[in-house]
Symmetry: C2
Subunit: 325 residues, 2 copies
């Protein structure tokens, strides 16, 4: 059993780190635009009017605008056919460059109204399809149609396969897992030779983050809903990635003193003291973890902001591969 240390854990400020990364990206986009007269683009495809999806999408579009990435809105009705969605994806795949008035105006500003570079204005686009899709649409089929060169979410099975395999490099890493590793590295936490445990095995977080940690030479264990006594394995780990979607399941006594704890969970629990009637908590009992861990991420303000920052990073990197080739 872990004995609480006297020292409080360092809080990893994901919001601040994400902001630093967004400034770095903005500077690179500016440099790219000045050198080549081109900015990266991101086509954000959304189906229907789910409130949570719309709020994520507007957050992503706003983040793009802030760093100078041109986002293209593809808003489709809830009842659009699968064939039509795939058609739109094919159209976006085929677009090597996209011109638009928004882009032109931004570039006028970026280039201080000098006209020469504007003539070259063009955008190489990543494609993001906001999940979940309505039930009548086959998610696997739609995501599988996105060209892997534009799969900035990194969810294409070919990208995942290359992520899994030694000696292969995917074109894009999934954003949340990449964000977790970035939080570790920017906090000075080394991975090589460390014992890491991943709690959860989803396609979006648990599985790819386990593969990333393995590639970074950690000894990796994956625990999940079928695991008896996960605390026995978690207690041995120097690095804990919590991505189970279970509010505060990881107690302070489950954590090895001094461990780095990255909490990916975002769970709404009832809280009558709030106007909304709920508050967000992670998969880790944050108060308890603070007394035992060496580092811990808060929820909100930990991994969440990193996901969007990594999406911008992927979009920029994809555009650089095309523009600088």
């Amino acid at each position: 059993m872990a004995s609480p240390s006297n020292q409080e854990a360092k809080i990893i400020d994901g919001k601040a780190i994400a902001q630093t990364i967004r400034s770095e990206i903005a500077a690179e986009v500016r440099a790219l635009s000045e050198k080549y007269g081109k900015v990266p683009g991101l086509a954000v495809v959304i189906l229907g009017t789910r409130k949570d999806s719309q709020s994520y999408v507007s957050m992503k579009r706003k983040a793009c605008a802030e760093v100078g990435i041109k986002s293209f809105d593809v808003d489709l009705p809830e009842h659009v056919s699968e064939a039509e969605v795939i058609n739109r994806v094919h159209e976006l795949n085929a677009h090597p460059e996209v011109h638009g008035w928004g882009c032109l105006l931004r570039c006028l500003w970026l280039h201080k109204f000098a006209l020469t570079p504007i003539i070259k204005v063009a955008t190489s686009t990543g494609i993001l399809v906001q999940l979940p899709l309505p039930k009548h649409i086959n998610e696997e089929k739609v995501l599988g149609e996105i060209s892997i060169e534009k799969d900035v979410d990194g969810f294409h099975p070919l990208n995942i396969g290359k992520l899994a395999m030694k000696g292969r490099e995917p074109l894009y890493l999934p954003c949340t897992p990449k964000g977790c590793l970035e939080l570790l590295s920017r906090s000075g936490i080394s991975i090589k030779g460390k014992k890491a445990v991943v709690v959860g095995r989803s396609n979006i977080v648990g599985l790819p983050v386990a593969l990333l940690l393995l590639k970074a030479d950690a000894t990796v264990s994956i625990v999940h809903s079928r695991t008896d006594s996960p605390e026995c394995i978690i207690r041995e780990a120097d690095i804990v990635i919590a991505a189970a979607g279970q509010a505060m399941m990881i107690k302070g006594s489950w954590i090895k003193p001094g461990a780095a704890v990255i909490d990916v969970g975002t769970n709404a629990i009832d809280d009558k003291s709030k106007k909304s009637g709920y508050r967000l908590v992670g998969d880790v009992d944050f108060q308890e973890a603070c007394k035992v861990a060496g580092w811990v991420t808060p929820v909100p303000g930990g991994v969440g902001p990193m996901t969007v920052a990594m999406l911008l990073r992927n979009t920029l990197d994809g555009a650089k591969r095309v523009i600088e080739q």
Copy 2:
């Protein structure tokens, strides 16, 4: 520390299990041939004259013949260009059906010399490129050119990606990992909820077997050359898959009493008592393991024969998908 049990481990006889599987495959091939007048085919591509590769290839071709699978020999010289190898792979990809005298003669026999089904004789082929390839050939590039419908080795990154992802199914599972799980299931060892450890993380065995165990609901840990004190993790495991390529590294004291130990290692060590001057041993100290484990595979005669049996199984399953569609 594990205390030796009084009971000796059950030896898992891979040779006998593989023989049973080969008989099952032969019966299915016969049934397919009788019903459709078609047999599965396997194109085995080999470059150069490496003795070990040639011996593996001739073993595979012989195994095909025994179960009624038609093998096609593609023997290329050591110094063939990469472009030429890729050309041959493309030709094989394009072959929906292959006719040949060998096939015709076998079918004459299978159909007791009745002529009607012979007219339909055709073979849907899997493609296997024997590794390693000569140094001037890019292995990743060549393997990536094999159509995933024909990738009976299961090494294409798209197949590995689908193996990794929840809710996705690859067309083929890599042969050795699939053989390990078949040994467990045919020995009555359940996986769900068990603690499994994989020693080694190669693309061919360690990594895919870890992904398979995870999909089968085991709690999975992967230890490797960068792991400190792997014995501490191995000692907790109900199922050990040893695929490190280190002769007898896993001692009896590393094994949990009653665990199932699958030894994938095949290492040659000096043995002056043998005419050849060497003998083959696994990654596990077999004599010690026998005193502690519940089940253990010998080397040779454990996992080895299963790899070829699973290659035949994959080839048959691929052909059935085409023929029965």
